[in-house]
Structure formats: structure tokens, C-alpha cells
């Protein structure tokens, strides 16, 4: 009987997410209650995340080696599931406020999640491509979800056009790799000739496609616009989910295709530097908090790329020298995901109906109006800045460590410089919140009451950020298992 039960279990999280996506859609005409769908989607997301445990308990390749259920995919499924859960919680009040259809929204979120899950578990390029498209197409729609908003539809259009453009590159890369190796299955490429120029070209094209997804400069160009235009909870999803999934695919390619790492070092080196600077310098002058966080996302992608440079550098180290770099990427994605979702959630709530209050001025005196929100946002910003007692600190620390480990001193130093530049604009937000007085009417206005779900999101992210900032151990040890990625 094909497919086997094991195959299904190994793909269970994605299937659950898709299933619940369908369920939501199916029930949409029949149930009027908006919150029902929130609950349903939440259940779906949680079940899917739970299914990751089942999948994790059944390690091995599935569907003739198209996907792989290993520790690596388990980690990313959990991460993606967590992101989705948080986004669903955070989006609820936003959808109410903006009077947007809930069922469709959640269905799309769940489908996107499934797509990311596929990316994280795929071991075959075409499957990965389908996963990528699943999450991308959902993302295009989600970005334009506020369809009567000029900005939202523009974001959607730009994302769609450029995303498809990049997807074409990605696909062309797959074709070339296929031409060079005769297969699209990563596991069968281990004997690929690293000198093949077709392979080089194909891998480059794939990198372009993934680089676009993770917003590596100069492919970062879409990010600020799309992040700004998309509905804020969707932005939160974008910044945490697809990025993690795309990085996951990249990591898996490195782990399984030795030939892939040969040529990529300098590409990552340069991309990392460009990305860090593009993000941080671009953010310097931003006065729109949402856009500022978008640029910050770019910068952080740059930091992660530093770890990738370390990965590619150390990949030839037979003693598993690249393991800390993998760990750095993964831990960073976790810490960064938590923070970004929390931060965008606050931006979403402060933004109010129609996302009016996005300017830095709207945050003036926030500490006095809404001390808890300000404190939470400060925690996120400090984590992004990389100060101790936050997860971001360890994230950055591990990346530094990975870089230094690979003797990439210049990269580490450049990253250090970027951290300092970054510190400037993160601090600026904190400064505005704590040290500047708000306008009279803003101070007089009653404080925005955060709904319960939002508070839960904030609590989870803040506690998570600080917890991982104090005890990164478990996560790290988990990542550093020797059988992290099946080969």
C-alpha cells in the first residue's frame, strides 16, 4: 500500500495544517462567528505543531526520499508552528479592527504554514519548490489582504511580481542542477562533480531564489515595501516564518550536498556584508516604526548570512566544524522569530484602526501611557540589539562565535560595526518611548487596551526572549545533536 503510514506521519504536520486550512474554508459559509475561526485555526496550528512530534518520533525519509523527518525538520516545524500560533493569536483583534474576513485569512495562514513546513522538511528540490510556492502564493494574497488599502495592494503586487521573478530564477536553477546531476533529490547529489559549471550556475540561481526569500541584499529590495504595506500581523508572519523556512532549505542543501558549499563562501561573505549594511543603514533614517522593523529584518538576515559564511567555510571541516554555525543559524532564527512577532504585534496594536499610528512620534511617551507595551517592546528591541539577558544576545553571540571559529575575523568585525549602527536606531525607538513626551492629545487619549490574545502573544514572546536569554542551553543542545540532519 502506498503511501505508507510512515510516509504520512512524516508529512503529518503539513497535512494537518493543510487539512485545517481546508476545514476553515469549508466551514466559512456556515459559521458566522469570527472567533470560531480563530479558535479553529489555533487548534489546527497547534495540532499541526503537535504532529511535528509524531513526525519527529518517526525519523526517516518519506515519499521516496522527497521529504525527511529528522531533528532538523522537527525543529523548524516547531518553530514555524510556534510562529503560526502566535500570528493567529495576534491577528484576531487586527482582523476585527479592520473588518477583514477571518476564515480566509486563517486558511491562508495555515496553507502558508504548510508550505513552510514543506520547505523545512523537503529533501528534493521540486517538492521544495512546491512548498515555496504554497507559502509564497499564500503570502502574496495575505500581503494584499486589506484589498481596499492602496498600500496593501501595492505590497501585494510588488511582492507577487518580484517574488515570481525570483521564483523563476529558483526554478531555472533547479533545472540546471537537474541537468548537471540528473536528479533533483538532494540526497543523490552527494557525488556531484563540484567542478561542473552547470552545477555552479544552477546552485547560484537557487541561491538567488532563496536569497530573495530571506531578503539578502541586493534581493532585499522588496522587503521594506512589502513589510510596510502588508497587514501588520502578516508582516509578523513574513519576518519570522518564510525566512526561517527558506534558511532551513538552504541549510539542508549545505548539509546534504557537499558540492554546494565549495563555491559559496565568498558569495555568502559578500551577501552578508551587503545585507547587514543595507538593513542597518536603511533603517537609520526611518521614522515609520513598521518600516524600521522591516529594515531591521534585513539586517538580521545579514547576521544570519554571516553564520552561513561560516557554514560554507567550515563545511570542509571533517570534524563537524560547521555544527556550531548551524546551531547559530537555528538559534538565531528562533530568538529572532519570537522577537519580531512580538514587536510587530505591538506595532499592530499601537497602529490602531487603519494602521494610522506607525510613526515614531506616535510612540513618544509610550512608556507613560502604556508602560507594559513599552517595556515589552524594549525587551524586543534590546534583543534585536543583542544585549544580554535576551535571546538575541545569545543569537548574536553564537553567530560571532561561528564567525570567529571559522576565522572570519573581518566578517565578525563588520558585524560588530553593524551591531553598533543597529544599536542607534533601536535605541532611538526606546529613547522616544521613554525619554520623549508624547503630544498632548496622545497623552490625553485613553491607553489602547490590548486584547487578551495579544497579551498572551506578548507574554509568550517576552518570556521566551528572556528565558532563552538566560538558558539557551536546552535549545542549543537539542540542535547540536550529531544526527541533526539526515544525510
Amino acid at each position: 500500500m502506498y503511501p505508507h503510514a510512515d510516509d504520512v506521519i512524516r508529512a503529518l504536520p503539513e497535512l494537518v495544517w493543510c487539512g485545517f486550512g481546508m476545514l476553515v474554508m469549508l466551514l466559512q459559509p456556515f459559521v458566522k462567528s469570527r472567533h470560531f475561526f480563530t479558535g479553529l485555526a489555533l487548534v489546527g496550528a497547534l495540532l499541526g505543531t503537535g504532529a511535528a512530534f509524531a513526525a519527529g518520533a518517526t525519523p526517516g525519509a518519506g515519499f521516496y526520499g522527497l521529504i525527511e523527518s529528522d531533528v532538523f525538520s522537527f525543529f523548524f516545524r516547531l518553530l514555524i508552528g510556534l510562529v503560526t500560533v502566535l500570528v493567529i493569536l495576534a491577528a484576531n483583534s487586527y482582523l476585527d479592527r479592520e473588518n477583514l474576513p477571518t476564515a480566509e485569512f486563517y486558511a491562508l495562514v495555515l496553507f502558508a504554514t504548510a508550505g513552510m513546513g514543506v520547505l523545512a522538511s523537503a529533501r528534493e528540490l521540486l517538492t521544495a519548490f512546491i512548498g515555496l510556492e504554497l507559502s509564497s502564493i499564500s503570502s502574496y494574497i495575505l500581503a494584499g489582504f486589506r484589498r481596499d488599502s492602496m498600500k496593501s495592494s501595492e505590497a501585494s503586487l510588488k511582492y507577487f511580481l518580484l517574488g515570481s521573478f525570483a521564483t523563476a530564477f529558483f526554478l531555472y536553477g533547479i533545472a540546471l542542477v537537474y541537468g548537471a546531476t540528473g536528479t533533483t533529490n538532494l540526497a543523490r547529489m552527494d557525488d556531484a562533480d563540484p567542478g561542473s559549471s552547470l552545477l555552479k550556475l544552477g546552485l547560484s540561481m537557487i541561491l538567488i531564489g532563496i536569497g530573495f526569500k530571506v531578503a539578502a541584499a541586493p534581493f532585499q529590495i522588496w522587503t521594506p515595501d512589502v513589510y510596510e504595506g502588508a497587514p501588520t500581523p502578516v508582516t509578523a508572519l513574513f519576518s519570522a516564518g518564510p525566512k526561517a523556512a527558506a534558511f532551513a532549505l538552504l541549510l539542508r542543501i549545505f548539509a546534504t550536498v557537499p558540492a554546494a558549499t565549495h563555491f559559496w563562501f565568498w558569495a555568502f561573505w559578500v551577501l552578508a556584508v551587503l545585507t547587514m549594511f543595507a538593513g542597518n543603514l536603511g533603517a537609520l533614517l526611518q521614522t515609520n516604526v513598521k518600516r524600521l522593523l522591516a529594515y531591521s529584518s534585513i539586517a538580521h538576515a545579514g547576521y544570519i548570512l554571516v553564520a552561513f559564511a561560516a557554514v560554507t567555510f567550515m563545511a570542509n571541516d571533517l570534524n563537524g566544524g560547521a555544527a556550531p554555525a548551524y546551531a547559530a543559524v537555528m538559534f538565531y532564527l528562533l530568538s529572532y522569530g519570537l522577537v519580531k512577532i512580538g514587536a510587530f504585534t505591538i506595532v499592530s496594536e499601537i497602529g490602531g484602526t487603519g494602521e494610522k499610528n506607525l510613526s515614531l512620534d506616535d510612540y513618544a511617551g509610550l512608556a507613560q501611557r502604556q508602560p507594559f507595551a513599552a517595556a515589552a517592546l524594549s525587551v524586543y528591541l534590546l534583543s534585536l540589539l543583542g544585549l544580554p539577558v535576551t535571546a538575541g544576545f545569545f543569537g548574536k553571540f553564537y553567530i560571532f562565535k561561528a564567525a570567529v571559529n571559522s576565522h572570519l575575523m573581518w566578517l565578525a568585525v563588520l558585524m560588530g560595526i553593524n551591531s553598533v549602527i543597529g544599536a542607534y536606531y533601536y535605541l532611538r525607538v526606546i529613547v522616544v518611548m521613554y525619554m520623549r513626551e508624547g503630544s498632548a492629545e496622545a497623552m490625553a487619549a485613553p491607553p489602547v487596551r490590548f486584547p487578551m490574545a495579544v497579551n498572551v502573544v506578548l507574554a509568550i514572546t517576552v518570556i521566551g526572549t528572556i528565558y532563552f536569554g538566560l538558558f539557551p542551553n536546552q535549545v542549543l543542545n537539542f540542535i547540536l545533536q550529531p544526527n541533526l540532519i539526515a544525510r
Binding site: 560588530g416 529613547v431 525619554m435 539557551p472 542551553n473 543542545n477
Partner: protein, 543 residues
């Protein structure tokens, strides 16, 4: 209770007790200011008393780390919660814990808005600073080093004066720029050694288990050194300091000058010298040059400041230059002097900032030209000010003298040129302090507003008297301190430049002066002499 303090957790308590206090404050209602102040005072005073308990744990002439706490914190990479105190950190911690209640008292009436947050920040700052001084794990050290930034930035940024935000941001960016490099250095060191544990690395370097290439060692040294130099601040990295000081509230300035700057010099002593002895030696002439420039430069700029607080701030640049010089002269005497001067500067400059803050409370300006003739309306205050100024300019029998003297004396032993240039600072410090004292306190009262200024209040008198007593005590009873710091300081020097019994190092008397100076360094490097090397206790001693 007592077993708690005996049982080896004293240092943890010292670090986290203020945090608990801060947390308690957070839970309080924010509008009862008196109550909040009292709680803050009680917490910080209790912390001070706790810190005194350390004295029992430190025997004289012991260079070991004592009261060690050691626990695994993070397994990959192996990061330990490793605390310990030795002679050098002992008094720095006590300095911190005594300046905190004094800062609380000093802020009693001058902080009116967001009182609760203010004291929370002050206590959190204490957590960071005490942590820095007590950490024996490089990572832990870095963690506290960074943690301390935020409360300080808030103190400046929220409760500061007109350009507070600029100053706060500048402060953080400068420090971060330095410390990021240090992080890279720490990691590099970890890569080379496989551990973050300071005593272990020290031992590896001492035993030759770890040999760094000269270039690598120099880069590592610089990575650490720059971070510390920013903090100190060493010329030309000092420009954040005047801004930060001028804009900070009194308590912030006191803590900043009193202990935060010492973190830089402490770091040099604790890390730069023992970990990178060869690089330290090679860098010493450059560092010393910068230190000397700082001494003279800081003093000259202080001389012409129209702003009283900025003047004191620049005087810190000058004074800290002495400390750095003392450290990098690699003589036991100068090192002792540097350690001592760290404490002395904390007290005397702290006192000056307190005084300036009190003036500000009355007139809301730091401009010297706004004052003049204050000795008439406020004689006691003037007396306190003079006393603090005298201590700062190094009058013998007050605290400033001992450190400065030892630094110069020690430095002179190996580098008479350095000491000679640096000693110019002694002249200049008299110039700027006495001149500013004259312009503020002497002469006729020129401004109408100043005629009716109140003399020091009881609270202020209490604060100032406390500081004065410490100043005097430190000036007279310096041996109480130096006997406890001696072994640790010598242990540091032994790793850089082991020193023989004094007499042998003396140049032949009657030899030409210049030649004698030239000889001296070669004498020091004379390898035929058996070094009396002190063993640095392994980390294991505490485990």
C-alpha cells in the same frame, strides 16, 4: 541567615540582592515617593552592609580568588557562573555598594518624576556593576558589562538635563562599539582555549599551555583594550564622558565617575595584562603615551571649561589617565597605586559630583559664571567643596595623594620620562580645581539669586560628611586597603613583568642619568635573575 552568607553564596547575594530590591520596587505603587526612596535606601544600605561581609572572607596577603562560586550555566559552549573576589575587586565592589546608597540619598529631592523607575534603574545599575567586578568567567563578565549599559543610559536619558538623549545615545554607542570588539576577542580566546574561564585561561598562558602568536595576541589585546579604553575613557575615546556627565543626574554622574569608569581600568588589570602579557608589554609605550596625553589634555581642557560639571568630568579624564599609566608601567608600586587610585577617584570625584549636583539643585545651572562668592551664603558647603577639591588635586593625607604618588613613584622606577610628563598633571589639577573653586566660591556674591542660597541641609551634610570621612580615612589609612590589594596586584604584575627584589633593579648610582634610565628596562628583562613567580590559583581552588 548567617549560613547563607558563609555558605559561599555571598557574592551571588551581592549581585542579585539589588535586583530583588528593584523588583520589589517595581511592584510598589509609583506615587508614594517617600516610601519608594526609603525602600531604595534600605536596600542599597543593606547591600553595602552585605558587601562588608566580604572583608571577612579575604585574608591579608592573599592573591587568590575567594568566596568562589562555580556552577555550570551553559554547556555548549561551556559557560560557567563563576564568581570570585580578590583584593582588586573587593574594594571596587564596596565602592559600588557605598556609592549607591549615597546616590540614593543624593537623589532624594532632586528626582521628582518617575521616581520609582529611577531607583529601579539605580539598583539595576548596581547589579550590573557588581556583577562585572565579581565575574570570573569572560562570558559572564561581558554579560554584566553590557547589562549595565541600559540602566545607565536610562538614568541619563530620562532624568538628565537638556541634551540628555544625545548624551545617553552617545554613551551607549561608544561603549557598545568598544564592547563588540571585546566580544569578538572573547570568542577568539575561547576558540583558542576551549573555555571562558578566566583563571583557567590565565593558568594556560602561564604554564605555556596556550601560546598565542604575537600578531594574534596583539589583536586580542586590542580587542579587549579598546573596549576598556572607551570606558576609562582614554584619550582620544573620551568625548562621550563630558556629555554623559553633564547631562546625567547627580546620582548618574556619581555612579558613572565613581564606578563605571573603573570598570575600564579594572578590565585592563583583570584581563589585558594577565591574558596578553607580551602584547601588553609591546603596547605599553603607546598606551602610556595616550594616558599621559589624557592626563595633560584632560587637565588643560578642564581648566578652561565654563561649565562646572564638565570641568569635573574632564578632570576624570585626567585622573583616569594616571590610573592607566600606573597599570601600564608594570611596576608593583604603580599597580598598587592604580588600584588605590581607582578607589580614591571614585570617592573624591564622586564627592565633587555630589557637590556640583547640590549646587544644581539650588540654581539649576552648571555655568561657573552664574556663581561666584558662594562661600558667603554657604560656608559649610564651600568647606566641603574645598575639601573634596583638595582630595582630588592630591593633597597629602587625603585619598587622592596616595594613589597618584604611588603611580608616579612606580612609573618613575621604570620610565622616568612618563612619570615626569604625568606629574605635570599634578600641577594642572591644582590650577583647574583652585581656579574653579575661586570662581564659584570666593569673591563677592555677584548674582542676586546667589545671595540667599541655603547652606548644606542636614541630608546633604550627612552625605558630604560621609564622603569626607572616607576621604580622610583613605588618605591616612591607605595601608588598610593596600595590604588587601597587594597580593592580587602583584600577582597581576608577576604575569606581565616579574619583578625582582627592589635593590637589584636599582641602576648603578652615579651613572649618568640618561643611561640609568636606559639601563633600567634592560635590567628588568635580565633573564639571568630567577623570577619569584606567584602561582595564580587555578579555578579548581574554588570548585
Amino acid at each position: 541567615m548567617s549560613s547563607l552568607f558563609h555558605g559561599g553564596h555571598l557574592l551571588s547575594i551581592l549581585i542579585f540582592f539589588p535586583a530583588v530590591g528593584a523588583l520589589a520596587l517595581l511592584l510598589l505603587r509609583g506615587d508614594d515617593h517617600v516610601f519608594i526612596r526609603r525602600i531604595a535606601l534600605i536596600v542599597s544600605t543593606a547591600e553595602f552592609l552585605f558587601s562588608l561581609l566580604m572583608l571577612r572572607g579575604i585574608p591579608l596577603n592573599s592573591g587568590d580568588y575567594r568566596l568562589v562560586e562555580y556552577a555550570q550555566w551553559i554547556t555548549t559552549p561551556p559557560i560557567h557562573y563563576h564568581l570570585g573576589v580578590d583584593g582588586i575587586s573587593l574594594f571596587l565592589v564596596i565602592l559600588t555598594t557605598i556609592l549607591t546608597p549615597i546616590s540614593v540619598l543624593a537623589s532624594w529631592n532632586s528626582i521628582h518624576h518617575r521616581v520609582k523607575e529611577f531607583f529601579v534603574m539605580l539598583l539595576m545599575l548596581e547589579v550590573g556593576v557588581v556583577g562585572v567586578f565579581l565575574s570570573l568567567d569572560l562570558f559572564l563578565f561581558f554579560l554584566f558589562w553590557e547589562v549595565m549599559l541600559i540602566p545607565m543610559a536610562f538614568l541619563i536619558g530620562i532624568w538628565g538635563h537638556e541634551r540628555r538623549i544625545y548624551a545617553a545615545v552617545k554613551f551607549v554607542l561608544y561603549t557598545m562599539a568598544g564592547s563588540i570588539l571585546m566580544l569578538v576577542g572573547i570568542i577568539w580566546l575561547y576558540n583558542a582555549t576551549g573555555t571562558f574561564d578566566l583563571p583557567t585561561i590565565q593558568q594556560m598562558i602561564q604554564t605555556g599551555a596556550l601560546v598565542l602568536q604575537p600578531r594574534a595576541e596583539m589583536l586580542l589585546f586590542l580587542a579587549f583594550f579598546v573596549a576598556f579604553a572607551v570606558k576609562v575613557p582614554l584619550f582620544p575615546l573620551h568625548t562621550w564622558l563630558p556629555d554623559a556627565h553633564v547631562e546625567a543626574p547627580t546620582a548618574g554622574s556619581v555612579m558613572l565617575a565613581g564606578v563605571l569608569l573603573k570598570m575600564g581600568t579594572y578590565g585592563m588589570i583583570r584581563f589585558c595584562l594577565p591574558l596578553f602579557p607580551e602584547a601588553s608589554r609591546r603596547a605599553a609605550p603607546w598606551v602610556a603615551t595616550l594616558a599621559i596625553i589624557g592626563i595633560i589634555y584632560g587637565a588643560l581642557v578642564a581648566l578652561v571649561q565654563p561649565n562646572l560639571k564638565k570641568l569635573v568630568a574632564y578632570s576624570s579624564v585626567s585622573h583616569l589617565g594616571f590610573i592607566v599609566l600606573g597599570i601600564f608601567a608594570f611596576r608593583n608600586i604603580s599597580m598598587q597605586g592604580a588600584v588605590y587610585q581607582m578607589l580614591a577617584h571614585g570617592i573624591s570625584t564622586g564627592a565633587l559630583f555630589l557637590l556640583v549636583g547640590m549646587l544644581y539643585d539650588r540654581r539649576h545651572t552648571f555655568e561657573i559664571s552664574e556663581y561666584g562668592g558662594l562661600a558667603t551664603p554657604m560656608p559649610k558647603f564651600a568647606a566641603f567643596f574645598l575639601f573634596a577639591a583638595l582630595s582630588s588635586l592630591g593633597l597629602p593625607m587625603l585619598n587622592g595623594f596616595v594613589g597618584e604618588y604611588l603611580i608616579l613613584l612606580g612609573t618613575y622606577q621604570s620610565h622616568w620620562q612618563w612619570a615626569s610628563w604625568a606629574a605635570l598633571g599634578v600641577i594642572l589639577s591644582a590650577c583647574y580645581l583652585l581656579w574653579s573653586y575661586q570662581r564659584v566660591f570666593l569673591g563677592e556674591v555677584t548674582h542676586e539669586k546667589n545671595k540667599s542660597l541655603a547652606d548644606a541641609s542636614r541630608r546633604e551634610k550627612f552625605i558630604l560628611a560621609t564622603m569626607s570621612v572616607i576621604i580622610l580615612w583613605m588618605g591616612l589609612g591607605s595601608t588598610y586597603f593596600t595590604r588587601r590589594t597587594e597580593a592580587s596586584a602583584e600577582a597581576v604584575i608577576d604575569q606581565v613583568e616579574p619583578q625582582r627584589p627592589y635593590e637589584a633593579a636599582a641602576p648603578p648610582v652615579g651613572s649618568p642619568m640618561v643611561k640609568a634610565a636606559g639601563n633600567d628596562t634592560s635590567v628588568v628583562h635580565d633573564t639571568s635573575v630567577v623570577h619569584v613567580t606567584k602561582q595564580i590559583p587555578a579555578a579548581a581552588s574554588g570548585r
